[in-house]
């Protein structure tokens, strides 16, 4: 295929991409972003944010209302078949054919994807093995469990060795072991074959574990984009919580160490850029003040906080600015 002269091309490139459904819903609203070849790119966001719509446009199942979409430099609206030839797609809802066997599902799919006849059986065998379905391959899919169907779905997307794998919530309904297995497989695909992966998920630990970069969508727009570390930084630093042995009503605290977010008489929460560095400083400060410390703990922001900050922003704005910080505190406390 077209590999050598596309060294510099982006795996996925969208420019002002907009999808308006009948009834005027702006499912995707003027979105511009890039996915680099070989990266695992996460698309997060609340229900209805437009993640599935975005993926459907990439698979050329939905036509963009306006804007531009290129896959490895190829215009999706001009050459949809060439684009689809580079993709593997795992839809959000189960879509394997339950009236066929697992093997037949892969066979039909590999034929429709024009997998070379000589390689076909090997590929099917590999995909079945990869997803741990070899011993059930000859059973009708309607007798599979939900998680097995999910795994078959992924196997199906792998038989044509896609350059880009689009996974729309691939791990819903998987048990923890299968989920780990799928994560490992995804990482291996990236490492062994340099496959580019676009994944949507509501599981923040999954996104954190897998993704090189993450875009958070909200109301059809990208609200934040960056590596998990960058995103976590952007919600503010680490929270150092100091518990005192006796109540100490008013403390003035040096700004260099951090800012007090929240305090009651015996417990103080300090927002610091780097928790590990802040802890000795905090402890020195309290010793100098002759205030006895019971315990100190750090909480690092995780993707849940990132999600809450960017995805729910509109909801927050509609309530009140105070509610925003209260909610943030709530999130941190309950972590």
């Amino acid at each position: 295929m077209d590999s050598s002269n596309f060294e510099n091309t982006k795996a996925i490139e969208t420019k002002n991409l907009t999808k308006i459904y009948h009834g005027g819903i702006r499912a995707v609203d003027d979105v511009t972003f890039l996915v680099q070849p070989g990266e695992i790119f996460g698309l997060l966001g609340p229900n209805g944010a437009g993640k599935t719509t975005m993926i459907k446009m990439i698979v050329t199942l939905a036509r963009p209302t306006t804007g531009n979409l290129r896959v490895f430099g190829i215009d999706a609206s001009k050459s949809p078949e060439t684009v689809r030839n580079m993709l593997g797609y795992v839809p959000q809802s189960i879509s394997v054919d339950t009236d066929l066997t697992g093997y037949e599902n892969l066979l039909i799919f590999s034929k429709l994807s024009y997998v070379d006849k000589k390689q076909r059986n090997g590929r099917i065998k590999d995909a079945l093995e990869y997803m741990g379905l070899t011993d059930r391959a000859k059973d009708l899919v309607k007798h599979y469990s939900g998680g097995m169907m999910r795994r078959l779905e992924i196997a199906q997307a792998l038989v044509n060795r896609p350059r880009i794998l689009l996974l729309d919530e691939p791990s819903i309904g998987l048990d923890p072991a299968s989920k780990m297995h799928v994560w490992e497989s995804i990482k291996q695909l990236k490492e062994k074959f340099g496959t580019t992966i676009l994944i949507t998920t509501h599981d923040m630990s999954e996104a954190d574990e897998l993704c090189d970069r993450i875009a958070i969508m909200s109301d059809g727009k990208i609200a934040a984009l960056g590596s998990p570390i960058e995103l976590k930084k952007s919600v503010g630093g680490d929270v150092v919580t100091v518990n005192l042995t006796v109540a100490y009503p008013s403390i003035t605290f040096p700004k260099e160490i951090g800012t007090i977010m929240h305090s009651n008489e015996k417990s103080i929460q300090i927002l610091a850029e780097n928790g590990e560095i802040a802890i000795p400083l905090v402890s020195n400060f309290f010793r100098d003040q002759k205030i006895a410390i019971d315990s100190i703990s750090i909480n690092k922001p995780n993707l849940d906080d990132v999600f809450m900050k960017y995805a729910k922003r509109r909801l927050h704005e509609e309530i009140s600015p105070h509610a925003t910080s209260a909610r943030r505190d709530f999130v941190r406390h309950t972590r």
């Binding site: 459904y21 199942l61 030839n85 839809p91 394997v96 339950t98 066997t101 039909i108 429709l112 994807s113």
Partner: protein, 256 residues
């Protein structure tokens, strides 16, 4: 576009149907009940009272090709329901996300309807022979009948898919199917000769595609006079290509 790939995709979609049928043949057997009733009850009864002016053929001979055409029509016209169902369970999404051209998928689906139609034809042949209906059993005629069955099923199943792209739900397709099959059936020469119809219905019958299909099948199964055959087949072919092409353009609407 690569013709070999195009055809291989279409055949693969039909293969998918064949494999499904092999796993569960129940539907095929249920589908045979209705034409069997027509032949055994309606056909045999009217045969004995000799109420119809069917010329040199007995009534049951007369309606055997008609019932064959009718039962294939039913399968084809309602094929859109299957496709809507497949849309609902994500199979259409899956098929359309492969690199295979849309038109090859639609063509494959219409071939799938033909596959079911051919099974009907086999069963109706068997039934007719069991009832002692005299039909011509020359190899070329039988092959011709199958060719017409295939084309006819493709034609009306692609029309059905075209309609399904706009109707989008199984209920509506059920309604549309019923609204189409009954008039097509009764305003045709399937179960009575055109000559017994009121004049206005005779005109309707002349533009009714089912009449042409029945006509083609009668010429092969009964009379052996083929002068209308080329026109019948050409008309079917043109309609099939048109409907497949149109349905290929509209099928994506099913996903919206």
């Amino acid at each position: 576009m690569n013709i070999a790939r195009f055809l291989s995709s279409a055949v693969t979609v039909a293969e998918m149907e064949a494999r499904k049928i092999r796993h569960d043949t129940t539907e095929l057997w249920i589908r045979i009940v209705q034409p069997a009733l027509w032949l055994i009850v309606f056909g045999v009864t009217f045969n004995s009272i000799k109420a119809m002016p069917t010329g040199s053929f007995s009534y049951i001979q007369f309606i055997t090709p008609g019932i064959l055409a009718q039962s294939v029509l039913f399968i084809a016209i309602f094929y859109g329901i299957t496709v809507v169902w497949e849309r609902d369970v994500g199979i259409i999404t899956k098929l359309l996300s492969t690199p295979s051209p849309r038109a090859s998928i639609v063509l494959g689906k219409s071939l799938s309807a033909s596959l079911r139609g051919m099974f009907q034809a086999v069963m109706i042949f068997a039934l007719a022979l069991a009832l002692g209906v005299k039909i011509r059993l020359d190899i070329p005629d039988i092959l011709g009948v199958f060719a017409v069955v295939i084309l006819f099923a493709m034609c009306f199943s692609s029309l059905s898919m075209l309609l399904a792209s706009f109707m989008k739900t199984r209920d509506r397709m059920m309604g549309i199917g019923q609204a189409l099959t009954m008039p097509l059936f009764f305003a045709s020469n399937a179960i009575y000769p055109i000559s017994v119809m009121p004049v206005w219905l005779q005109y309707v019958s002349k533009v009714n595609p089912l009449s042409y299909v029945v006509d083609a099948m009668r010429s092969m199964l009964l009379s052996g006079s083929y002068e209308n055959l080329p026109i019948d087949i050409l008309a079917l072919l043109v309609a099939t290509v048109t409907f497949v092409a149109l349905a290929s353009i509209t099928i994506k609407r099913l996903l919206e």
